[in-house]
């Protein structure tokens, strides 16, 4: 499998606090990777660095062979790296359709595709409802739909299952598995069940470093990981 994202020696500090400490890894095309770790491990910061919400203190990022370290957020989105947010962050005063349309305008996608995604994710009946007035679960789907409309090559999802009731989680799992067959996924998640069912590869972060990286079975048995999560020694 080809390499789609390469991160080299990425670091970011906030004052004396090293949020991301000399991190390097590759993501392989069409592989579903999960990024896990305790709170404050640096997962979201790492994602923010890759998606240029933050500037790295040092390091390089290459996407499909191209150095994107100095590009900004909207540029890398156009290149094909799309992310979602932990806290729902849409256009509250616009309708569901309008939210999707903004995304479609970003990737120059036509209206037919918007209709298609809306029916696939069963958002049709919310078409003209303002996003701030729909339920949390629907908002998450809208965000996912927007991400897809941006034609991502690499889709980074920051805690997509957080706050979702059981029903919606199962639904989300199904959708993500389908998406994962055509798009490379990087998922930050806390729900272990979710992670182990979805991921083909797991990276574990702690205190700004990646401390483990491999197949789910290997990670479960990794003693360092167990120590962090279960406090075993």
């Amino acid at each position: 499998m080809r390499e789609i994202l390469r991160v080299e020696n990425l670091s970011k500090s906030f004052g004396k606090f090293k949020a991301v400490d000399n991190v390097s890894f590759n993501l392989r095309e069409l592989e579903i990777t999960a990024l896990i770790g305790p709170n404050g491990a640096g997962k979201t910061t790492l994602v923010n660095l890759v998606t240029k919400k933050l500037k790295p203190d040092q390091g390089r990022i290459l996407f499909m062979g191209r150095d994107i370290t100095n590009l900004n957020s909207y540029q890398i989105t156009r290149l094909g790296i799309v992310r979602t947010f932990q806290i729902v962050n849409l256009f509250p005063t616009l309708t569901v359709y309008e939210n999707l349309k903004v995304a479609a305008l970003g990737s120059k996608t036509n209206n037919k595709e918007i209709e298609m995604i809306m029916s696939e994710l069963r958002l049709d009946k919310y078409k003209d409802v303002k996003v701030m007035n729909v339920s949390f679960g629907v908002q998450k789907l809208v965000e996912l739909a927007m991400a897809l409309l941006l034609k991502p090559k690499l889709l980074i999802l920051d805690e997509p299952a957080a706050g979702l009731p059981r029903e919606d989680r199962k639904n989300l799992m199904r959708i993500l598995k389908e998406i994962g067959e055509k798009i490379t996924l990087l998922v930050i998640e806390h729900d272990m069940e979710f992670v182990f069912e979805l991921a083909q590869r797991i990276m574990v972060m702690n205190r700004g470093k990646i401390i483990a990286d491999g197949k789910p079975d290997d990670i479960i048995n990794n003693s360092i990981v167990r120590e962090i999560y279960l406090g075993e020694s």
Binding site: T51, K53, N72, S73, Y74, T77, R78, V82, R83, F85, N89, L90, F91, P92, T93, L94, E98, K101, V102, A103, L105, G106, S107, M146, L150
Partner: protein, 320 residues
Amino acid sequence: MNKFLRDINIITILILGILLGLISLTGDRFYLYISSLFMIYSLYALSYNLLYGYAKLLSFGHGMFFATGAYITGLFTLRIFKDPLIGLLVSIISTIPFALLIGYITLRHTKVYFAILTLALSMFVYAILIKWRDVTGGSDGLVGIPKKGVIVDISSPQLNYLFILIFFVLSSLTLYLFINSSRGLLIKALVNEERLLFTGHNVLVIRLYAFMISGVVAALSGSLYAIFMSVITPDIAYWTFSAEPLIMTLLGGSDYYLGPLLGVAIYVSLTTALARFAEYWMLFLGITMIAIIISFRGGVLGALILIATRLKDKRLKTSK
């Protein structure tokens, strides 16, 4: 097409246009005067709300576009080519690069600095207008801006009125169609700047676009003002004049496209019709502004719509 014909804003503008047109038939000078002011200030306030209500940009210097629009029209028709229509067109066209320039230097700043920078820039324009006597007439301003030109002759009050009316209806419709287009949607999306960036859009360019269009419409209203009043002085560039469309927009309601029109209507009718109480009105305006910020930001239009919706819900409940 059908959807547009049934759009309430478009219907309102057209009905308003017809009503205003009927007023011109009466020939009553007072009503012509007050309605002309209404139309001119409405365009000014609409241009302001594009920045404030839609693009979420608080500018304290919007008067600079109104003033330069007015002065360019005045200067052009007085010194270069005597025709109000041409003067107006020249003014609008020259505002495009001017607005882009101002936008380019101000929009990259954060909100508070943007507000203060626009304030400083408009005061800079004011300073030039008031000091450059030879060109701008200084504090006396420009006098005798012609209504009778080579191409159009709008010397009669009714023709002048019609001139303003046509621009008013066309501009408010065009601006509305624009805000409902794809580009307009991107401007509306400025409500969440971060998300917009992550949706692959260059926020600065979108803001610049909104700023430019807003500036051009303001310049248009300034030009109409210059022709209508035939006398203009530098105080239209003073920051307190920039605050007026802001107050009118807040008063009427910035959440709806036509909200500012309601604010202008209230403002104009009260300050001219009840000019005796003008001092009290300004005080009332200040207090209203405070009240709106503290409690209900929807303005008068927002309040009316809220009441209407509640009444509708009540009726639905009782009919069951």
